[in-house]
């Protein structure tokens, strides 16, 4: 579903991501872990087309992000760590805008908006301007918008930040459903317990370089993900 090959991203002379390669298959929830400034967000933003990259290639379902960005974007959705949404629109206007861009039919959008908004308890607030939303409400709206066109791949940057415990639980459920239906999720997180329980695969990044990647069970063995992460941090210090 997502293949990152030798990705390198520079900020002037600083290498934010250094020769990173990953392969995320259909049906998998892939956790991306690393310390602050390790290059997680830069990688995610390169994948979704926000940041141009210097070297390497990104393929979404076999299509090159460099050569066919529009086709790739149609198959993806992105939830950023800080959901800056159009404050001049109401929640429902924003969702309709996203649905129009992806050309989601009237019936499908109605059904999906109501399904996810009811689930995340945002329905009654959909007519409110986004400027009146709290951080958590914006995050929920970004989640609904991401699922509105049933993308094959969803990229999430710290998706649990700002969500209340119930919404976090529901999001995990939605993520699992999405992967069972044949989709894939690539997300970054600092909450190692969540990653340990939720992810089928895990990748750990440090100073822009991939330190380890693979099946969650293979990586943690009999230890906790926290222990493994701290060991790797110390080993490579």
């Amino acid at each position: 579903m997502l293949r990152i090959e030798h990705l390198t991203k520079m900020y002037d002379s600083y290498k934010a991501v250094d020769d990173l390669s990953l392969h995320i298959e259909q049906g998998h929830i892939y956790g991306f872990i690393g310390h602050n400034g390790a290059g997680k967000t830069t990688t995610l933003k390169s994948v979704v087309g926000i940041l141009p990259y210097d070297e390497g290639e990104i393929y979404i379902d076999g299509r090159s992000m460099k050569k066919e960005p529009m086709e790739c974007k149609k198959m993806m959705a992105y939830i950023p760590d800080n959901p800056d949404l159009y404050e001049y629109l109401s929640g429902i206007q924003y969702l309709n805008f996203v649905a129009d861009v992806y050309q989601v039919s009237k019936n499908d959008r109605e059904m999906r908006i109501h399904k996810y908004a009811d689930m995340l308890e945002l329905t009654s607030d959909l007519a409110q301007p986004i400027s009146a939303y709290s951080h958590g409400m914006k995050q929920k709206l970004a989640i609904i918008a991401a699922f509105i066109h049933q993308p094959k791949l969803i990229v999430m940057d710290e998706p649990f930040v700002g969500l209340d415990p119930k919404a976090s639980h529901l999001l995990k459920q939605i993520m699992r459903e999405h992967c069972h239906a044949g989709g894939a999720i690539f997300f970054s997180t600092h909450v190692l317990e969540v990653a340990e329980k939720l992810c089928d695969r895990i990748a750990i990044i440090k100073k822009g370089k991939l330190v380890v990647s693979g099946r969650t069970q293979d990586i943690i063995g009999n230890e906790s993900l926290e222990d493994v992460f701290l060991e790797l941090e110390n080993d490579n210090a």
């Binding site: 087309g49 926000i50 800056d84 001049y88 929640g91 309709n96 908006i113 009654s124």
Partner: protein, 532 residues
């Protein structure tokens, strides 16, 4: 701490003018020079205008033995201009500043936060003040000279008068903030107030010659009215004219006491003012059948909703629309006078079509929606980057919104003028075409300039639409162009071309430049947007 806060605010003001985006650090020397040239140009125009005004007044007032009225008028103009110029900034800086909560959570005295904000507004007031006080001082010194005491008093007046204006604008800003926090039609109220202020200002500037005559003929009456009604200004004027220290002391007391009272009240109520959230009634969502739109229509709706969401964005981007409507209404009102003038001076008929084309360009020259349309994406630019929308579609819609909003008003003016001046069919087409071509030209220039120098790290949209470089440059080019078209003909082409030939030549130039800029937008512009 106060020093640090002031330093940060000053850095903010400076960077607001010179820094282009968060991606690029530092400030370009070229950009600083450009900003200085722009501000210099505006400064020279205003200084010249007020210089003429004071030159015309200074001697007649002395002859009438009411020389002090010169300084009273200067002070009144300073108060008016500073108040109208800073009242909305006051409301924003003190009552709606975004970093209030952050600063209040830090170990900083409320008084220091407030004073640092006051300082920002004061700087703006001093800029306005120097445009009036500078020429007034120069004209007076050149005519009568000034003693050292008078010069010192003038300097002290320069420092203290804006404090009084600040007290006034704080009070008005507080009333405004209170009203706006209670109403839904916030945009309508801001637009009405802003336009009212603007019309008073324009009316005052345009009536300057009438005022001079009126002031000279009614000097004694006005002098006695000021003496009785504006007691502090009278004493200030006496002090400046005679170097009277006692009068100056009375002025200082009258100016500083209101300032101190307002500052005291604000400092004790600052936390409440800064943290009170406007009470908004919750709108409950009621499920309705949803509508599908095409990609371009969805983008256009979004752009339109963005544009109409903020009164300051509308006013700064499309004030030309209002001028078009006012000009059209004025033509209808003065229809008889116009026809009478045309019958008195039949040779003017020959110039009607070129003049109407120029007028159409002039009234449309104050529209610059596209010049901030890229910057206004701000922190939400990621949405357009992530969604499967081509840069070409995004730019086409931004260009289209400007045209859709501005062209109807320009055409309304043209059609009205066609009927009033009864021009022929071919000429009517030209009169309609002129504002359309010019609007497209300014639309393209604004959008390209904004692509060249976007600014995404603005504190609020008002700063972005009022003070960013692409907006200022577009305004400079747009307004300057209407002027240049007329001047170039008078100075260069008057003996070479007939006025009609010159008009056709300009139509040709406009068409060629528009095609070239459109090509540039579709090539360089698209590439540039992808790089942002």
């Amino acid at each position: 701490m106060l020093k640090t806060l002031i330093k940060i605010r000053l850095q903010g003001i400076f960077l607001r003018q010179t820094k282009s985006s968060k991606k690029k650090k530092g400030t370009g020397i070229g950009k600083i020079i450009l900003m200085l040239v722009l501000f210099g140009y505006v400064g020279v125009v205003f200084a010249f205008m007020f210089g003429m005004f004071f030159s015309a007044l200074v001697e007649p007032l002395q002859m009438m033995n009411i020389e002090w009225l010169y300084f009273a008028l200067m002070s009144l103009i300073i108060i008016m201009i500073c108040f109208f110029g800073s009242v909305f900034l006051t409301q924003h800086e003190i009552y709606e500043a975004k970093d209030n909560e952050l600063l209040l959570s830090m170990p900083i005295k409320n008084r220091d936060i407030l004073l640092s904000r006051v300082f920002t507004i004061l700087i703006l007031n001093y800029v306005y003040e120097i445009l009036i006080a500078g020429p007034a001082f120069f004209v007076y010194v050149r005519t009568f000279g000034m003693s050292i005491v008078q010069v010192i008093m003038f300097f002290l007046m320069f420092i203290t008068l804006p404090l009084f204006v600040l007290a006034l604008s704080c009070l008005f800003g507080w009333i405004l903030a209170n009203i706006l926090s209670r109403v839904r039609m916030k945009n309508v109220i801001i637009i009405v107030l802003y336009l009212a202020f603007m019309f008073v200002y324009i009316y005052a500037i345009n009536s300057i010659e009438q005022y001079i005559g009126w002031l000279i003929t009614n000097g004694q009456t006005i002098a006695s009215a000021i003496e009785k009604g504006a007691f502090p200004l009278y004493h200030l004027s006496i002090a400046l004219q005679n170097g009277n220290i006692f009068s100056f002391f009375i002025y200082l007391v009258c100016i500083l006491i209101p300032f101190a009272i307002v500052m005291y009240i604000l400092s004790i109520r600052f936390v409440k003012l800064a943290t009170t959230k406007p009470k908004m009634k919750k709108i409950i969502y009621k499920a309705k059948p949803m509508e599908e739109s095409s990609l371009k229509m969805a983008l256009l709706k979004r752009e339109f909703r963005h544009f109409t969401s903020n009164a300051m964005v509308m006013l700064n981007g499309a004030v030309g629309i209002i001028f078009c409507i006012i000009a059209a209404v004025a033509l209808i009102i003065y229809d008889d006078d116009i026809n009478m003038l045309l019958s008195m001076y039949p040779f003017v008929r020959e110039y009607v079509t070129p003049l109407l084309c120029l007028a159409g360009i002039g009234v449309c020259s104050m529209n610059m929606i596209s010049a901030s349309s890229i910057s206004l994406e701000g922190d939400c630019l990621w949405i357009l980057k992530v969604l499967p929308i081509s840069a070409k579609d995004i730019l086409d819609i931004k260009l289209g919104l400007h045209l859709l909003i501005c062209i109807p008003a320009g055409v309304l003016f043209s059609v009205t003028s066609i009927f009033i001046f009864k021009v022929g069919l071919w000429d009517a087409c030209l009169v309609i075409l002129a504002p359309i071509l010019f609007t497209l030209l300014i639309d393209l220039i604004g959008l390209l300039l904004n692509l060249w120098k976007p600014k995404f790290d603005w504190i609020n949209e008002t700063v972005c639409v009022k003070q960013s470089m692409p907006v200022m440059l577009t305004m400079f080019i747009s307004m300057g162009l209407a002027f240049v078209i007329a001047i170039v003909y008078i100075l260069v082409f008057i003996d070479i071309f007939s006025v009609y030939s010159y008009m056709y030549f300009l139509f040709g130039i406009f068409i060629i430049v528009n095609i070239a800029l459109m090509y540039m937008l579709q090539t360089w512009g698209v590439k540039r947007f992808d790089e942002l």
